[in-house]
C-alpha cells in the first residue's frame, strides 16, 4: 500500500533523512522509533505531502505523493494524521463536533462504511464518530478548552478516522497524556485498526509502546534507517547495536 523508495530530505544544508526505504501493507502497523532529531516527524510530514522530497519517491496506493495540490487531494483522502499535542491540533473557536466532520466536508463524495446511513447529516455523523472513539454525546457541543487532554486526543482520533482512511499516522499520540489515559487511547487505536482494517504508522520514542502497538518496527537515528524488523524479532541476536541499547534501556525500567 505504501512504498517509500530511498528518499532523502535536507533542510538548508542539514540532511534530516538519508536514503530511507520501507514499505507497508494494508492492515499492518509500523512503528517508527528514534530520539528527537532523528527525523521521524519529518518522515511523517513527507508521507502526508506537507513537504517536498529532495530525492526518491513515496508511492501510496499507486499514486505518487507530490507536494502539489491535485495529487495531495487524492492522497489525503486516504491518509490522515493524529498529532502529539491535541490542544493545538483542534480549532479553539469551533465546537469539537465541527472539527470532527471537517474532513467529510472537504470530501463530499466519500462515504465511509460506518457512516453510510447518516452521511447527509453532519451532527449525526459526528455523533457516530464520537461513539466509535468512546466519547459521550454530551461532549459534542463543547469547545476544546472544556475537554481534558485524553478527551481532546480522542476527538483528534475521531477526526482522523472520519474518512475511513487506509492509513492513519500517529505522531507521539500519547506522550502528553497521563498513564491511565494513555492505556485507553492505545487500546482504542488497536481496536480501530482491527475493526476498520486500517493501517497506522505509530511514531514514538517509547519502545514499549511501539512493541505493544505495531507489527513492524523501524529504528531511525540521525536520519538513517538503522534497523527494520517484525516486532516478534525485537529480542533477536541479529538486531543492530543501537536497537539492543534501546531494548536494554527499556528493560531496565522493570524493577
Amino acid at each position: 500500500m505504501l512504498e517509500i523508495n530511498s528518499i532523502t530530505k535536507t533542510y538548508d544544508t542539514n540532511p534530516v533523512l538519508k536514503d530511507i526505504t520501507l514499505s507497508l501493507n494494508q492492515g499492518e502497523s509500523l512503528g517508527i522509533i528514534g530520539e528527537s532529531g532523528s527525523g521521524k516527524s519529518t518522515l511523517a510530514r513527507l508521507i502526508l505531502g506537507l513537504d517536498s522530497i529532495d530525492e526518491g519517491e513515496i508511492i501510496f496506493q499507486g499514486i505518487r505523493v507530490q507536494h502539489k495540490r491535485n495529487s495531495l487531494k487524492k492522497v489525503r483522502r486516504h491518509v490522515q494524521i493524529v498529532f502529539q499535542d491535541p490542544a493545538s491540533s483542534l480549532n479553539p473557536k469551533l465546537p469539537v463536533w465541527k472539527s470532527v466532520v471537517e474532513p467529510l466536508e472537504n470530501y463530499p463524495d466519500t462515504i465511509p462504511l460506518f457512516l453510510k446511513e447518516v452521511r447527509n447529516n453532519k451532527e449525526l455523523m459526528a455523533g457516530m464518530l464520537f461513539n466509535k472513539v468512546g466519547l459521550s454525546q454530551e461532549l459534542l457541543e463543547r469547545y476544546p478548552h472544556q475537554l481534558s487532554g485524553g478527551q481532546k486526543q480522542r476527538v483528534a482520533i475521531a477526526r482522523g478516522i472520519s474518512l475511513q482512511p487506509a492509513l492513519l499516522i500517529c505522531d507521539e499520540p500519547t506522550s502528553s497524556l497521563d498513564v491511565s489515559v494513555q492505556a485507553q487511547v492505545l487500546n482504542l487505536l488497536k481496536e480501530l485498526k482491527r475493526d476498520l482494517n486500517m493501517s497506522y504508522i505509530f511514531i514514538s520514542h517509547d519502545l514499549a509502546a511501539v512493541q505493544f502497538m505495531c507489527d513492524q518496527i523501524a529504528v531511525l537515528k540521525n536520519g538513517t534507517l538503522l534497523d527494520m524488523f517484525r516486532t516478534e524479532e525485537l529480542f533477536s541476536e541479529i538486531r543492530h547495536d543501537y536497537t539492543k541499547k534501546l531494548v536494554g534501556l527499556a528493560l531496565k525500567d522493570i524493577l
Binding site: 530520539e35 528527537s36 485524553g150 498513564v179 492505556a183 528493560l251 525500567d253 522493570i254
Partner: protein, 334 residues
C-alpha cells in the same frame, strides 16, 4: 578554585548530615481556593530526608505541582494555605514574610521546571545570566563568579566555555535543561524541586537528566522532590514515593515496599496500566475507568473510578500502616 568549591560542598554536606531527622516536613497541608472555599490539596503529609529523593506521582490536576508552588511560597493570591505547616530545616515556610522567603528561595530551595525553554531570558547570554544569579545572592567579583559558573557547567557535563558564551536558542533541549539544573544547584540548595523535568525531552536525554539529578543529589547531599506523572522515572531512582490523587496522598512509603506490595487500588491499577517491554506482548492494556479529572467530592477522591468502591468510601479513609515505612489511605486495604 575548584578545590575550594569542592571543600565548601563537603563541609556543607557534613553540616546537614547530622541527624536522621527530615529536612523537609509537610504536615496536614491544606490549600483552598478562597472564592469558592474548595480544597485543592487536602491534609497531606510528606517528608524528605537530606540526601534522599521523594517521587511525587499523580495525574493532571492531582495537586502535585500546587504542593510544589506552596513549598516555594509562590501560590497565587486566589489560593491560600488554610491549614498545616511546612518546615524546611529550621524555617517554618508557612510563617515567613515575603522578604524572608526570598532568602530561602533559590538559596535553600531550587526549582527545575518542565519548561526549560523559558528558564533563561532569550536574548542574554547564558553565562551572564548565571553571574547575575550569583551576584544577586551574595556580593561576588565578576571574575570569581565566572569561575564558579564554569565549575558548575562542567559538573552537569556541558562544554563550559561554549555554553557560557551561548544564547539559550543555540542549545538543544537537553543542554538547556542541564544548564537550568546547573543554575539551580549553583547556590547549593538543600532541596531541589524538579517538576516534570523530562516531559519535554526524548527518552534517552530524559534518562540522562534524571541520572544527573540523582548523581548530584548523592554528591551534594541535598534532598530532591521529583514530581512526575510517569511512574517509570520514579521507580528506579527515588528512595520514597508518594501517590497523589485529587489533592490527597493515597499511598506513601519506601519505593521498594510500594512496588512489591502496592496497597491502594489506584496504585495497583497504575502499575498494571503502564507499558512494559516484555517477551510476551499483551493484547490489551489494563485501563482505569474514567478520566483523571473525575474526583469524588466527598470521602476518598478516587471513589468514582475505583473498582472496589463500597459504602465506607463516602468518608475520608484513615491512614493505615501497611508495614514499617509504608502507609495507605483506603477503606478496602487491609
Amino acid at each position: 578554585m575548584e578545590a575550594t568549591i569542592e571543600k565548601q560542598i563537603k563541609n556543607a554536606g557534613d553540616l546537614v548530615h547530622t541527624a536522621e531527622e527530615s529536612l523537609l516536613e509537610i504536615e496536614d497541608l491544606t490549600i483552598t481556593i478562597d472564592s469558592v472555599k474548595k480544597d485543592l490539596v487536602k491534609q497531606i503529609d510528606l517528608s524528605i530526608k537530606a540526601g534522599e529523593m521523594l517521587g511525587l506521582v499523580g495525574e493532571s490536576g492531582s495537586g502535585k505541582s500546587l504542593t510544589a508552588t506552596a513549598l516555594l511560597g509562590l501560590l497565587p493570591s486566589s489560593l491560600q494555605i488554610t491549614g498545616g505547616t511546612i518546615r524546611l530545616g529550621n524555617h517554618q515556610i508557612t510563617s515567613l514574610s515575603e522578604k524572608e522567603m526570598r532568602q530561602v528561595r533559590g538559596k535553600e530551595i531550587a526549582y527545575v521546571s518542565q519548561n526549560y525553554q523559558s528558564f533563561f531570558t532569550p536574548f542574554i547570554k547564558i553565562g551572564k545570566q548565571f553571574v547575575e544569579v550569583i551576584q544577586s545572592h551574595s556580593p561576588t567579583k565578576k571574575s570569581e563568579a565566572k569561575k564558579i559558573v564554569r565549575y558548575w557547567l562542567n559538573k552537569v557535563n556541558l562544554p563550559a566555555d561554549r555554553v557560557f558564551n551561548s544564547y539559550p536558542f543555540q542549545l538543544s533541549g537537553g543542554q538547556l535543561q542541564r544548564a537550568a539544573i546547573a543554575c539551580a544547584i549553583l547556590l547549593r540548595p538543600r532541596l531541589i524541586i524538579a517538576d516534570e523535568p523530562t516531559t519535554a525531552l526524548d527518552v534517552l536525554t530524559g534518562e540522562k537528566i534524571l541520572d544527573l539529578l540523582r548523581g548530584l543529589q548523592k554528591e551534594l547531599n541535598c534532598a530532591i522532590l521529583l514530581i512526575t506523572h510517569d511512574l517509570k522515572h520514579v521507580m528506579n531512582r527515588s528512595d520514597e514515593i508518594a501517590i497523589m490523587y485529587g489533592g490527597q496522598i493515597l499511598e506513601r512509603g519506601r519505593t521498594c515496599d510500594v512496588y512489591q506490595n502496592p496497597a491502594h487500588p489506584y496504585t495497583r491499577l497504575l502499575f498494571q496500566s503502564r507499558l512494559q517491554l516484555s517477551k510476551e506482548v499483551t493484547k490489551e492494556l489494563r485501563t482505569i475507568y474514567g478520566e483523571p479529572g473525575l474526583i469524588a467530592e466527598k470521602g476518598c477522591p478516587f471513589a468514582r473510578r475505583c473498582p472496589y468502591v463500597f459504602e465506607a468510601c463516602n468518608e475520608i479513609p484513615q491512614i493505615k500502616t501497611v508495614s514499617d515505612a509504608h502507609w495507605v489511605a483506603c477503606h478496602a486495604a487491609n
